[in-house]
């Protein structure tokens, strides 16, 4: 079953090209990584899939359903959750309130909400002691964990996560990636955008490499890892 399938997708910011003619798919239960240099269009692609930027051409299918006319918040309700770059947690709200907003759209009774809240805290124990603090007071790594935890509150079918390692020290990065593996282990499909190739290929089953808005390479993680064109794609884009 294809969780996400993009066919010839193009996104433009006014006259500026974001991505052009991208086709890719993510199967149910997979971890797929989107790789590429800065400005290659990875984040744009995620934003197009989650619906916060409009597309110019092409189609987005989510479990076979066409998403062209579905508004961004509706996509979340269908189980497609996007943890954006820079975490974007609500700093003026408490950790608990942030998590509660993660199941905003779910039609749950109060008891069920608390239950889910406890489940997620079990999964992300770092947050436990901070539940009543303002999210803005957390450290960077804790904020990233909160962002993922917030995304997991609604038990998404697909979790898209953008640059989870950005700005974190290696130790925190390990924690975050362990969590991601734990998330995937619950059966959640993960679409991961990452600049750090080695990190991403370690947990992903497959990967796509974007270069200047188009797919340059794709394949299994293990084959890609040894492909010399991979580093060329990075270096090529960087030397531009």
């Amino acid at each position: 079953m294809r969780a996400i399938e993009l066919v010839n997708l193009s996104v433009y910011y006014g006259p500026v090209r974001g991505v052009e003619d991208v086709s890719l798919y993510v199967d149910d239960g997979e971890i797929v990584a989107l790789l590429g240099a800065n400005g290659a269009g990875k984040s744009t692609l995620l934003k197009a899939i989650s619906g916060i930027v409009g597309t110019k051409r092409g189609s987005i299918k989510y479990f076979g359903e066409n998403f062209a006319k579905t508004s961004a918040h509706q996509r979340v309700i269908r189980g497609l959750v996007h943890v954006p770059e820079g975490r974007r947690i609500f700093t003026a709200l408490t950790v608990r309130e942030n998590l509660e907003l993660g199941i905003y759209s779910a039609k749950l009774k109060h008891g069920q909400r608390t239950e889910r809240f406890d489940e997620v805290l079990e999964m992300f124990p770092i947050l436990k002691e901070h539940a009543t603090r303002l999210a803005g007071m957390l450290s960077g790594g804790e904020q990233q964990v909160l962002a993922i935890a917030r995304g997991m509150m609604s038990k998404p079918r697909v979790l898209m996560i953008d640059e989870p390692s950005l700005g974190l020290d290696p130790q925190k990065v390990d924690i975050v990636y362990d969590l991601l593996e734990a998330v995937a282990a619950t059966g959640t499909t993960v679409l991961l955008v990452e600049q750090n190739v080695n990190l991403a290929l370690e947990i992903a089953t497959r990967a796509y490499v974007l270069q200047q808005g188009s797919v340059a390479l794709s394949g299994d993680s293990s084959t890609l890892a040894s492909d010399p064109r991979l580093s060329a794609a990075y270096l090529g884009a960087e030397s531009d």
């Binding site: 943890v83 974007r88 003026a92 993660g102 905003y104």
Partner: protein
């Protein structure tokens, strides 16, 4: 000394009105960063709607009248809320990508449209209209100052409504969604929050509060006019800034502080200088505390 105390008590009463309208101002500002100059005119339109409905539905005397006032009040709150939602849908929503100044000018245009719309409606027009129901004068005396029971009821209703909104924003899920939208609209969308709906709810609440204030104004003061919204709007806006705009508790507090400042200032310098006292106090306060009394949350964001 008793004069000062009675001025403070009067100021508290005035502040209840300011605060109620200011909460609406503050809510909309908090979520859209828009100084909604038309907000005072929602209040004005509400007073006229209440005037018309009450005029045609008052039957009987005594308690029956107050029962009618109560349900008309609720009806007008809903109607004004819907008016605000409609204004948002027709004017502000299509402009959500425009610069704030453009939005502000559009709000001024809307204010003109509402005022002059009422001016041109037969039966409303430019005259000072006498409200069909007026509050009975009997009451009680505190510190040699007479208050009517109705004034007490107004303060209680205003306090009750403000507290309701405060709890709604602070405790409920939709309230949390409002705060989320106010802080980061994109992230809110990614939580599955229907931002347009949240904004509509905010306009509805703001409008409904203005509607409640309008009915109480009509019944208490007994007189309405098509320009009544402008002054109230200006005072409410000042109160909202004074308390720290975007902050519900701040709006109520700002209203009370403004009411007291006006009342006491009038006592010292004469009513003709009331507005000068108000604004000098505002400048001093902003100088010492540039974000208003309770404005920290906004300050950090800016």
């Amino acid at each position: 000394m008793t004069l000062l105390m009675s001025e403070i008590l009067n100021g508290l009463f005035l502040g209840a009105f300011f605060g109620l309208v200011a909460v609406g101002y503050s809510l909309v500002y908090g979520i859209l960063r828009l100084i909604n100059f038309a907000h005072g005119d929602f209040f004005m339109v509400a007073a006229f709607v209440a005037y018309t409905i009450l005029g045609s539905s008052i039957v009987g005397h005594g308690h029956m009248v107050w029962f009618t006032v109560a349900w008309v009040g609720l009806l007008v709150m809903v109607a004004t809320g819907l008016l605000a939602v409609l204004a948002n849908r027709l004017v502000y929503h299509p402009m959500r990508r425009a610069a704030l100044l453009s939005l502000m000018i559009a709000a001024l245009g809307l204010s003109q449209v509402l005022e002059n719309g009422v001016l041109n409606i037969p039966g409303w027009g430019s005259a000072y209209l006498t409200f069909p129901v007026t509050s009975p004068p009997n009451g009680f005396t505190v510190l040699q100052t007479n208050f009517s029971w109705f004034q007490l009821i107004i303060v209680l209703i205003a306090g009750f409504l403000s507290l309701g909104v405060y709890l709604l924003v602070g405790r409920t899920l939709i309230g949390k969604a409002m705060r989320a939208v106010s802080e980061d609209r994109i992230a809110a969308v990614l939580m599955g929050i229907n931002v347009d709906l949240v904004i509509a709810v905010v306009f509805f609440i703001g409008g409904a509060l203005a509607g409640a204030a309008a009915v109480m104004t009509g019944v208490y003061y007994g007189q309405i006019n098509y320009l009544m919204g402008w002054t109230v709007g200006l005072e409410a806006f000042t109160a909202a800034v004074l308390g720290g705009i975007g902050n519900i508790g701040g709006a109520v507090l700002g209203g009370v502080v403004l009411g007291i400042a006006q009342s006491v200032g009038t006592g010292w310098f004469g009513a003709e200088w009331a507005i000068v006292v108000t604004f000098v106090a505002l400048v001093l306060l902003l100088w010492l505390r540039p974000t208003g009394i309770l404005g920290e949350r906004v300050a950090r964001r800016m």
